[in-house]
């Protein structure tokens, strides 16, 4: 579990507006899915990234969590996971005796090994209504999973 301090640092870290990657290039947002997972989604609900954070976060642990989240909808391998340590000095925090603040693990959809530029590819989206993932053709405008649509 992340500490309150790590959570606060992460809130600041992800209070940015990145560009949607692999879909529309529109401004996207980081949404906190649960206590240790963040999803980068654009207005069309395409998932650019899924990120885990915590003091003990590591690639193996995140790979297991990610497989559970995407339920076979995405091809996930260990090589697709990248990790990063965030320290007091690069976050601009004044904490001399507590250098490591949080560890992050990143997964990016359709990146490097899994890169697919086909306009017909099946892609991962996050439902606007529920916090659940679903797949549909990457160019689809639908923002809801099957159960919310029905």
């Amino acid at each position: 579990m992340p500490t309150d301090y790590a959570r606060s640092a992460v809130n600041g870290l992800f209070a940015v507006t990145p560009t949607c990657y692999g879909h529309c290039k529109e401004p996207s947002a980081f949404e906190f899915k649960d206590d240790s997972t963040i999803v980068q989604v654009c207005p069309g609900r395409y998932v650019s990234r899924i990120i885990a954070y915590g003091m003990q976060t590591n690639a193996d642990q995140f790979e297991r969590i990610l497989r559970g989240l995407v339920q076979g909808m995405e091809d996930v391998e260990s090589t697709d996971i990248r990790v990063a340590s965030r320290y007091a000095w690069d976050l601009g925090l004044d904490r001399e005796n507590d250098d490591l603040i949080v560890r992050l693990a990143y997964w990016t959809q359709s990146y490097r090994r899994t890169r697919n530029d086909s306009p017909d590819r099946a892609a991962l989206f996050l439902c606007s209504n529920k916090d659940s993932f679903f797949t549909q053709p990457v160019n689809s405008k639908n923002r809801f999973c099957q159960s919310c649509k029905g």
Binding site: P18, R82, A84, D90, L91, E96, R113
Partner: protein, 114 residues
Amino acid sequence: MTDIKAIHVVHATWCPHCHPTTVEPIEKIAKELGIPFFSYDIDIPEQATKGDELVRKFGDWSEDYLVPQVFIETREGKIQHVLTGYSESVDSTKRAVNNLLKSPLFAKVNAHAN
């Protein structure tokens, strides 16, 4: 805080988090401070071997790890990982590099140089 003997950066030439966001400002400050600067391009095999070793032993290692990664080597011979690029945005990486260069880690080196 320990003194810095050298700075090492693992990078890729195609990576906007590396160039001009990280490598150039770090190299500049190393030059200003008279500290040796070593860079390892992950796409040049002989440099990649050393870069991989640094990241595996001291950094944020994964099979296809993030770049840039910055390490400082202290006068006691210790190597310390101090920064990994911020995947969320190039601006975030830029801010982190600025923070690092203004941090107490570099403040002592700055003080010695002045």
